[in-house]
């Protein structure tokens, strides 16, 4: 067959959102690829320039529906840096708990979508079922299922509900058994291994040069996790490890996310145990000083960074979001070249696309 360009997207089952992957194929082999994004561009950064600081928190939830907590937390972290607010310790611990629950939920959604990409709808339903556990937990804390609007500049919205610790531990115990079941379905299946092993190789040097972060980079064997390397919140007081895998392929990324879910369970347990009493929220000033600030966190998808310029009013002068997937998706041509068209879902699925944060 001659060379041809195939448009995979903007409406395509592989895309998980609205974007377009132009793939140049010869027969079934991919020669080149070119991601086209921007279908979901809302001008988020411009919108924030017209809103007061607290009003932006629910907006930043909408950056990514899969892990909205991390984004609103990142925003609050940035503004706290800008305003010089010290957050009470209990609030930090509560944040760690909800962030890790959110990370589990986000990874579960990723595995669910990955299963569908590879044609296994059962895994989708199983993972979504267990995600419901964590959504229920987060709902009992925050009052919403997806866009939580929970972190506040200077703390969190409300305290944990009375039975939260018991429910949370119970859910974690149940969930850890379920992870074994997923491993049975995925790792136990020779066909899954065939589809993911040796596919979508991203060499560590390439990954670092391209600015790829998060589980995709850790799947290349690079031991980078901002929770350890640039600790925010109370992550440096907790005992946990960075999960990496040396294989550089889709399977390694899958493995890293699986291990990260286990690690998140461990972090939540420890944070619940160590949680101190005390206030949960500090009053934030209305106006920000004239300076710049930024903060970065380890989003489930990679490194999230927000850069804010305050100008003395109650609205930010400029707020910039560094979205992890925005950079990762610019690196996919390297991962795709030389593989088959059928590998596109398994490679693109393994980087965990989220278009809300990519296009902003």
């Amino acid at each position: 067959m001659a060379e041809m360009w195939i448009n995979m997207g903007p409406q395509h089952p592989m895309t998980h959102g609205l974007w377009n992957l132009r793939v140049k194929v010869e027969g079934e082999t991919i020669l080149d690829a070119e991601p086209v994004i921007g279908y979901l561009h809302r001008g988020w950064e411009k919108l924030t320039e017209y809103r007061t600081y607290p009003q932006i928190i629910p907006l930043s939830d909408r950056l990514c529906y899969g892990s909205s907590m991390t984004w609103s937390h990142l925003y609050c972290l940035t503004i706290e840096d800008l305003m010089g607010i010290e957050v009470p310790e209990r609030a930090e611990y509560i944040r760690v708990v909800v962030l890790e629950l959110q990370r589990i939920a986000s990874h579960l959604m990723w595995i669910a979508a990955y299963g569908t990409d590879l044609g296994l709808l059962t895994a989708f339903v199983y993972c979504m079922r267990e995600r419901e556990l964590f959504l229920d937990l987060l709902q009992s804390v925050t009052g919403a299922r997806m866009t939580y609007n929970y972190p506040r500049i200077g703390g969190v919205r409300n305290d944990l509900p009375p039975d939260f610790e018991r429910d949370c531990l119970r859910a974690l115990d149940y969930f850890e058994k379920k992870i074994d079941e997923y491993e049975e379905i995925f790792d136990g299946s020779e066909i899954f291994l065939m589809r993911t092993r040796g596919i979508g190789i991203l060499k560590p040097a390439d990954g670092m040069n391209l600015g790829v972060t998060g589980a995709t980079l850790r799947g290349s064997g690079v031991k980078i996790d901002l929770r350890k390397h640039d600790p925010y919140s109370v992550y440096d007081e907790l005992d946990w490890e960075i999960c990496t895998h040396p294989d550089c392929d889709c399977y390694a990324r899958y493995r890293v996310r699986m291990d990260e879910m286990r690690m998140s369970c461990q972090i939540v347990r420890e944070a619940l145990k160590k949680m101190p009493a005390g206030p949960i929220r500090v009053k934030a000033p209305r106006n920000a000083p004239k300076k710049t600030a930024y903060a970065r966190v380890e989003d489930p998808r990679g490194e999230g960074l927000m850069y804010v310029i305050g100008n003395g009013t109650d609205k930010p002068y400029r707020l910039k979001v560094r979205s992890p997937i925005f950079v990762t998706v610019s690196a996919v041509p390297i991962m795709l070249r030389g593989y088959k068209v059928a590998d596109v879902p398994s490679i693109m699925g393994s980087v965990d696309m989220c278009l809300g944060e990519t296009d902003r």
């Binding site: 590879l118 296994l120 339903v125 065939m194 589809r195 879902p345």
Partner: protein, 357 residues
């Protein structure tokens, strides 16, 4: 009394009534023509095929329903449950919906092959039903080369798929069609070879005689276990179900070669898919699982029960496995299944030579 005699009885009775009417009205010539053995035979065959089509249709509908419900339970959900008892009529509702859909032909499609591909597809699938007996009395034809006929008809499908994929003028369809051709052709061979063992043991290509041979000895799944495994894998690939549903791999090729088909054409293709699923499961039952043999229940029922059990295995596979890539599928076909099928033939020859069966 077999199906032919049964239908003939009904047809003669109906013709008798009509003839009486015609005679009474004075059309004696027409009545005589209607009463002639050739016309009666033609009408009987027509009636027989309607019965078979109805059976096939009901089985296919039930299979869709079974798939919905079983897949639902596999996924810890409920499946269709609103329309009709346990959602049985959901398929009918879906069929009606597809009938009411707009009839779109893509502007740049090659119209004639685009229109004919579903016809060939559904036609060949229905043709499959002709050669599949439900029991020794419920059959349409008793071909001496029944098995060969079934697989010959099975292999019409890649042609239809390739035609449809090409005519849709869509890159996904084209790739889907190409994949389908490669896959089906490479799976035809292990499929036929795995069948050879059974044919050797039974000493016939006649489906009825193969079942008879199993009734007299053991079900061929026992001496031909390797053959059975090869056959099951190959037949799953042949009827294009997950893990081998590459021609319509939905994650990468949207719907593969069906992408441009909508409305009732899509419905017909879907139905053809299940007709083929039925045929595949039926052949597995006939060759390896003793056909319609079984105690107590009538043989037709036994046959259908076995078919549904085999189809459950298909659904189960679909619910627990991911899709295989095209080069891997060819690898499995040529490098694994083909040698295994050869080994199976050797076993069959050995068993036959030693006279164990």
């Amino acid at each position: 009394m077999d199906l032919y005699q049964f239908t003939e009885g009904i047809v003669s009775w109906l013709v008798g009534i009509v003839n009486w009417l015609l005679n009474w009205l004075g059309f004696h010539g027409l009545a005589g023509w209607l009463g002639s053995p050739d016309v009666i035979k033609f009408l009987t065959l027509l009636g027989e095929s309607i019965v078979l089509l109805a059976v096939g249709f009901i089985v296919a509908i039930t299979m869709i329903w079974q798939e919905r419900k079983t897949l639902g339970r596999l996924m810890d959900r409920r499946g269709a449950m609103v329309v009709g008892p346990a959602g049985y009529f959901q398929n009918i509702a879906d069929g009606l919906k597809t009938l009411l859909k707009e009839y779109i032909i893509p502007e740049k499609a090659d119209k004639t092959p685009y229109n004919w591909a579903p016809v060939i597809m559904i036609g060949s699938s229905i043709l499959l039903l002709v050669a599949i007996p439900l029991s020794d009395r419920f059959y349409m034809t008793d071909l001496d080369i029944g098995l060969l006929f079934i697989f010959a008809v099975f292999s019409i499908t890649p042609f239809a798929i390739l035609l449809g994929g090409w005519a849709s003028n869509n890159k996904y369809s084209l790739i889907g069609g190409m994949r389908s051709a490669a896959q089906l052709i490479s799976y035809e061979i292990p499929l036929l070879l795995s069948m050879v063992g059974v044919v050797l043991l039974a000493g016939s290509l006649n489906v009825g005689e193969i079942v008879m041979a199993q009734e007299n000895s053991v079900w061929f799944i026992i001496p031909q276990f390797i053959g059975f495994i090869v056959f099951m894998i190959a037949i799953v690939a042949e009827v294009e179900r997950i893990p081998f549903d590459l021609p319509e791999a939905e994650a990468e090729l949207v719907e593969g070669w069906w992408t441009e088909y909508g409305g009732m054409r899509f419905g017909l293709l879907m139905l053809a898919e299940y007709f083929r699923g039925y045929a595949g499961a039926a052949v597995a039952v006939l060759l390896f699982l003793g056909g319609w043999n079984g105690p107590f229940l009538p043989p037709e029922l036994w046959f259908l029960i076995k078919v549904f059990i085999v189809f459950f295995v298909f659904i189960w596979l679909r619910g627990s496995l991911t899709r295989v890539r095209i080069d891997q599928i060819l690898n499995i076909g040529w490098k694994r299944l083909l040698p295994l099928a050869m080994v199976n033939i050797v076993i069959a020859v050995a068993i036959k030579t030693l006279g164990w069966i």
